[in-house]
């Protein structure tokens, strides 16, 4: 369960997030939809505690992330916008490193790594150094590494960006799998079809603000449009058309 309240952030004179408020319940997938530069990444970064909001509050399962950063961070798993890997470490070593940083025992890490090898089909690459990995393989390693501690809340910043069809399908499968386990999943995207196919709830962002929030049907009703794409354009304005 994630709650963002009145988040505000400016970089110089550019307001990146202006009173961003939304909540993401457990057992559901919440999509942050908006064109590039709408404030999705900035909002996510404030939620996972690496950007300090100029105003507002973030609660992870009721924990204020500014007051209890470490406790809150152990309850979230994040796939950031750019999730760099260490070229000289193997896939397994990446997963183990983050597991150890979360304070998991070696046996626990081994057990969960074996699980992720099954879910993400990593068996062929698990003990190879990531140096020659494809983009899809890198994303899989980054996901396993980010979720090794079984977090209740999962934040994914444009997880399917640049992935081929098979890898995109795999990521969508994981998102559905996590929802079925009752987790709270938030992911951002600028791809309409992806959001409408996956999300239980949609938060539409534009110009650093939340312009609408609800299920796909609610958004259609609110805008009086027949398709989600038309609804999106009418909500975000001309900036959205450029996408």
């Amino acid at each position: 369960m994630i709650a963002a309240r009145n988040l505000h952030k400016a970089f110089g004179s550019v307001v990146a997030a202006d009173s961003v408020s939304f909540s993401a319940p457990d057992g559901a997938v919440t999509g942050l939809l908006g064109p590039n530069g709408a404030g999705k990444t900035t909002s996510l970064r404030m939620i996972y505690g690496l950007l300090k909001p100029a105003g507002g509050q973030v609660e992870i399962d009721g924990l204020d992330i500014a007051a209890n950063p470490l406790a809150a961070q152990s309850r979230i798993g994040v796939l950031p916008d750019i999730s760099g890997l260490y070229a000289r470490l193997t896939a397994r070593e990446h997963i183990r490193y983050f597991g150890e940083l979360h304070g998991l025992s070696r046996a626990e890490i081994d057990r969960r790594t074996a699980e992720w090898i099954g879910i993400l089909d990593l068996s062929g690459i698990i003990d190879r150094r990531v140096a020659g990995f494809s983009h899809g393989e890198r994303t899989k390693v980054a996901i396993a590494r980010a979720l090794i501690h079984n977090p209740q809340n999962i934040l994914l910043d444009e997880p399917t960006n640049g992935l081929d069809v098979m890898s995109t399908r795999a990521v969508r499968e994981i998102i559905r799998h996590l929802r079925s386990q009752g987790r709270c999943v938030v992911f951002s995207s600028h791809v309409m079809q992806e959001v409408s196919a996956l999300c239980d709830r949609i938060v539409v962002m534009g110009h650093g603000r939340v312009v609408a929030e609800g299920t796909a049907e609610e958004l259609l009703a609110q805008t009086g449009m027949a398709s989600l794409e038309d609804a999106f354009v009418s909500l975000v304005g001309p900036q959205g058309e450029a996408e």
Binding site: L50, L79, G84, F98, H102
Partner: protein
């Protein structure tokens, strides 16, 4: 606290899989000992060369008595001189040439100064000691013969010596060799800096460049422990590099025939331990400085150019220390880098800095390291550093 070691181990494994970093470590540790070994062997060769000289003589038939005397001196060999002595010396074909004048025999018989010429080139460093030896041999022959002539006339040869000059060399054999020993502290300090550098920059600027800093900071570990782990890995590599350099250096020194140079190699276990104690504080500090500086770089390459510039800080005083040894100035000891040079020079010279020097150096290094690490921790929390790529 365990997480510090988790971070350190990861950086260590990652760092030691980097071939380029390993080559750097390998060559930088070999570099110093090889140079010191080369300098000592050159020194030894010159010393030996000055003792054994071949004297090219033009007109040896004019002065059989001088030739016989020279041959009887140890290590002297007479060889035929070149056609054109001056050209031969100028072109460095001969180190020097002794020319015996045609009138030598006649003047010698008449007890008048018999002319000889020594052709030499004073700009040639390597031949200077040989020319000196020849000159002192000629002077000795002159004094000996002159003395005999006085005796034959019933005069004591002592009469012509108004002065009795004795050369008392105050520089002990150790101090002469210390000139070369003075290079050793610089190479130990350079080894510390170069060996710690790859991990110090890869774990800071490298994380920023790869975009791996953001996911790393999402783990529930305080930034200070993260920085401490990275520092521990870089410091471990720095100390390893320094230990390698020191052990190779000691091996090289023990293989050299230092005694032939009149130098006693008095580096035993206690000296090695003192050397470690003197240099180790800098091993804490140098990776902290390097990490702090590298945090400002957006890429590994950028950080390498900053850290390359930073290398001037230890090397410049190191070069100065070769020519102006910083001994007998205990107030230098707590100052990082300068203190290391001063203490190592003293230990190699057979003196021992007091315990206060070691404690002072350690305390200063620990305080500066703590300050730099807390500044680096701040940088790791800075939004500009985390996201500014």
């Amino acid at each position: 606290m365990n997480k510090v070691f988790v971070v350190a181990r990861k950086e260590w494994v990652d760092g030691f899989r980097d071939r380029r970093a390993l080559y750097t470590l390998f060559f930088s540790t070999l570099f110093g000992p090889l140079i010191v070994g080369f300098m000592f062997s050159q020194f030894a060769r010159q010393n030996k060369a000055a003792q054994e000289i071949q004297v090219p003589v033009v007109g040896r038939e004019h002065a059989p008595i001088l030739m016989n005397w020279l041959i009887q001196q140890s290590g002297v060999e007479i060889i035929p001189g070149p056609e054109d002595p001056e050209a031969a010396v100028r072109d460095r074909k001969s180190d020097f040439v002794l020319i015996v004048d045609k009138e030598f025999a006649a003047k010698f018989r008449e007890s008048r100064p018999a002319p000889v010429q020594v052709v030499s080139d004073s700009t040639s460093q390597s031949t200077r000691s040989k020319v000196q030896r020849l000159n002192s041999l000629l002077n000795a022959f002159s004094a000996e013969t002159g003395g005999l002539r006085l005796v034959s006339r019933g005069v004591s040869p002592q009469i012509v010596s108004a002065l009795k000059v004795e050369q008392l060399e105050v520089a002990t054999a150790q101090q002469r060799a210390a000139m070369i020993f003075n290079f050793i502290p610089m190479f130990l300090v350079i080894a510390l800096f170069t060996a710690g550098m790859p991990i110090a920059s890869d774990s800071t600027a490298g994380e920023r460049e790869r975009g791996s800093l953001e996911p790393l900071l999402l783990n529930p570990i305080p930034r200070s422990l993260l920085v401490a782990g990275k520092w521990l890995a870089a410091g471990g590599a720095a100390l390893l590099g320094m230990l390698l350099t020191m052990s190779i250096m000691l091996t090289v020194l023990s293989r050299l025939a230092l005694e032939e140079l009149g130098v006693r190699n008095n580096i035993g276990t206690p000296q090695v331990l003192l050397l470690l104690a003197a240099v180790a504080p800098l091993g804490l500090l140098s990776p902290a400085v390097q990490m702090f500086v590298a945090c400002f770089a957006r890429s590994f390459k950028e950080s390498q150019s900053y850290l390359g510039l930073l290398m001037i800080a230890p090397t410049l005083p190191g070069i100065l220390a070769i020519f102006y040894p910083m001994t007998n100035r205990p107030w230098l000891h707590p100052i990082p880098v300068l203190g290391q040079y001063a203490m190592v020079t003293e230990i190699l010279g057979g003196k021992f800095p007091g315990p206060a020097s070691f404690i002072g150096a350690l305390v200063v290094a620990v305080i500066l390291t703590a300050v730099l690490l807390s500044l680096a921790t701040r940088l790791f929390s800075s939004e500009k550093i985390i996201f500014g790529r």
